[in-house]
């Protein structure tokens, strides 16, 4: 597009605004909305209730424990597919020693690296993992959601391709809501080329309004609170 064409369209828009009627439009930005916060003690229970209502599962791990994580993965993948997990960089997770514990349990580990996107064979291989295991930047009590920003070592596909998603989240990352999160951490909205807020398992109700899970994304979502 020539700069002129863009300028012409922009000028047409500006001129139209001069002619239009805009009920309830104020000249200055309307500002922020204020809401009443959740009682702090209710957060964990609320998160669990919301996630479970969506068909997700919430786990508590008061002390970081690599073997317990591996035992959970082992149990979840039994009979579900290859013993393979697609993971985020270990250094980004709240539980240390996971790679060794996984290898000891005979579970193979895969990671997405730059360049993987160029090969179809490699993509198919990535898609063969049974579990995707990630961390999370935040958890939202009001909706039972987790928020994941992409970045080095934090592949988007880990929370997307496998049929099961397990996210390890430090408990202090649990906040009230998406609105509350973005108010205190506005930078998080642009922390990676992709930021996703995941609210329960993939679902559809397109056919006769009947709910079914695991259409294109994971049909199972497990959130493990560490600490």
């Amino acid at each position: 597009m020539t700069p002129d064409a863009r300028a012409a369209m922009r000028a047409a828009i500006a001129a139209a605004i001069g002619r239009g009627t805009f009920p309830d439009a104020v000249a200055d930005h309307p500002g922020a909305f204020s809401w009443s916060p959740l009682a702090a003690g209710d957060r964990a229970a609320r998160f669990r209730a919301e996630l479970e209502a969506l068909g997700g599962t919430c786990h508590d791990m008061p002390e970081p424990n690599a073997d317990a994580v591996v035992a959970l993965l082992d149990r979840l993948m039994a009979g579900r597919g290859p013993r393979r997990v697609l993971v985020w960089d270990e250094a980004l997770l709240p539980v240390a020693g996971l790679p060794t514990a996984l290898v000891r349990a005979g579970i193979s580990i895969d990671t997405v690296t730059p360049g993987d996107m160029d090969s179809i064979e490699r993509r198919e291989e990535l898609a063969s993992a049974t579990i995707g295991r990630t961390g999370a930047d935040a958890a939202l009590a009001e909706t039972g959601s987790i928020v994941l920003a992409s970045g080095p070592g934090r592949a988007r596909l880990a929370s997307l391709l496998p049929p099961i998603h397990v996210a390890l989240v430090e408990r202090h990352r649990l906040v009230d809501s998406l609105a509350a999160l973005i108010r205190v951490r506005p930078d998080l909205a642009t922390a990676g080329a992709n930021v996703v807020c995941i609210t329960g398992p993939s679902r559809t109700a397109d056919i006769e309004h009947t709910l079914s899970r695991g259409v294109h994304g994971p049909g199972e979502v497990h959130v493990v609170f560490v600490g």
Binding site: A25, V26, P114, I120
Partner: protein, 476 residues
């Protein structure tokens, strides 16, 4: 958007005769209305959130030029490309040229109403690009060579049996694949997964563009929206010029009410924020991002008394609330944008000439305005369009003639009384049990679907006169 089919009345009559369609649409819309209400009841201060959301939309649309500038610079600063498309043809040419120059062969698409509006699929196919719709409902629509009949639930008009038949005939499904809805869903997952992994072009819509950061927000439940914007090497995001919010915090206000109003969910499963193409140090994501800002009539709407329709966030709540939509479904409207908001938007975008019936497809009950999360006054705009329609002489000649006769009669008390007496007599002579079953054309428009009540023999004036002659009654 295809041209408006010949007659709105013809399509409506067909839809009304289809008992199965009415049953399906009635049942699903009723269930979504209940979920929506429950979801809003769960949100403390829901009404105040809605008021604030309305203010944000009103302010943004009234300053759209400024916010489009901000959005454009922010996207470009992150390495994305922005194309301003004044018309559908410009948008189509940009995407097909891009496919040609990058040698893109297969496109996976997530749901995008704007690409339906400009009929992008057909044009991409004509340019040699295979297009695969990946939203389950849209995939069914594509297999059936059909059109969506609801902006949020595209196949609200189809039964599970019809979908099963399609999967069997067009996608090679077996009986085991079709045992129940869960199996059908898994069949779609297995069938579409290789398409995602192999596609080189991803086409998506955009729910909101955040002006201050250049963030694109795409809401989906199935996960196809994430796959489409992560796996192919080129991502094209199509958006109407009006789909903006000023800041990320404003986005969270819209998200508080969008999912609740659309499906009764607190949030859609995947609220996906895209900030440019993949940087070198990230391992997945597209290497190119192109944002196509489509005008296609919107700036004309912006400069009119119908600009308020651009506040719309496409939640579909007004469709579910509308007694007319519940009866006739989406196809009868003859537009990709059906229901109450569509009856304003379609003629506003494409001209009243071809769509002058749509503003009349409403009882003006106001249920749409009550359901709308941003409180758009749809009835006001339907009335404005009806007035324009009348001025353009689309009303039948006999209405104008009838009104002229009525005025001649009504301005003179004697003429009015005489006419009333005569009409009442005539009505009684032709009625049975107080109802008239049949009237000659054009009045048969009424009696073809319902009976007409007869007038009282004694008029109000006569009765009043009689009463005032009676002795005054004392209050007991």
């Amino acid at each position: 958007m295809s041209a408006a089919p010949a007659s709105f009345y013809r399509r409506t009559a067909d839809a009304l005769a289809d008992a199965r369609l009415r049953g399906a649409v009635g049942r699903v819309t009723a269930s979504v209305r209940r979920s929506r209400q429950a979801a809003l009841d769960r949100l403390p201060d829901a009404d105040a959130w809605r008021d604030h959301a309305r203010q944000l939309r009103a302010h943004t649309i009234a300053h759209l030029d400024r916010y489009l500038d901000e959005l454009t610079s922010a996207i470009e600063a992150r390495g994305g490309h922005v194309f301003y498309a004044p018309t559908a043809e410009d948008a189509i040419a940009y995407v097909t040229d891009l496919a040609r120059s990058r040698h893109l062969k297969t496109a996976v698409k997530s749901k995008s109403m704007i690409s339906e509006e400009i009929d992008l699929n057909a044009r991409l196919e004509a340019a040699g690009v295979r297009v695969v719709e990946t939203d389950l409902g849209e995939y069914v629509v594509q297999l059936a060579a059909d059109h969506p009949s609801h902006i949020v639930m595209p196949i609200i008009h189809k039964t599970r049996g019809e979908v099963a038949d399609l999967f069997r005939a067009k996608a090679g499904a077996t009986d085991a694949d079709l045992a129940d809805v869960a199996s059908m869903t898994q069949f779609a997952r297995r069938t579409l997964r290789p398409e995602f992994l192999r596609a080189d072009l991803g086409v998506s819509g955009v729910n909101f563009g955040v002006a201050s950061t250049g963030t694109l927000c795409i809401c989906t439940n199935e996960g196809n929206g994430r796959l489409v914007t992560t796996l192919p090497r080129v991502h094209v995001a199509m958006m109407g010029i009006e789909r903006l919010v000023p800041t990320p915090e404003d986005l969270t206000v819209m998200l508080q009410i969008l999912g609740r109003s659309a499906t009764g969910q607190n949030l859609t499963v995947y609220t996906n924020l895209i900030n440019g193409p993949r940087p070198d140090d990230e391992s997945d994501g597209p290497s190119e991002l192109h944002v196509v800002l489509v005008d296609n009539g919107r700036s004309r709407v912006l400069g009119s008394e119908l600009a308020e329709i651009l506040y719309c966030i496409r939640c579909g709540a007004c469709l579910n609330a509308c007694p007319v939509y519940q009866e006739i479904g989406g196809h009868a409207y003859g537009s990709v944008y059906p229901g109450p908001f569509g009856s304003v938007l379609t003629p506003a975008l494409r001209g009243l000439e071809a769509f002058h019936d749509l503003p009349h497809a409403s009882s003006l009950c106001g249920a749409c305005r009550d359901a709308c999360p941003v409180r758009i006054d749809i009835p006001r705009m339907l009335l404005a369009l009806r007035a324009d329609d009348a001025k353009a002489h689309h009303a039948p000649w006999w209405i104008a003639a009838g009104l002229r006769v009525f005025r001649w009669v009504a301005v003179n008390p004697r003429r009015f009384q005489t006419a009333g007496r005569l009409t009442a007599k005539l009505m009684h002579a032709t009625s049975r049990n107080g109802w008239i079953r049949w009237l000659p054309p054009p009045l048969s428009g009424w009696t073809s679907t319902r009976d007409f009540p007869v007038m009282a023999v004694e008029s109000f004036q006569e009765r009043w006169a009689r009463r005032s002659k009676l002795p005054e009654q004392k209050p007991s």
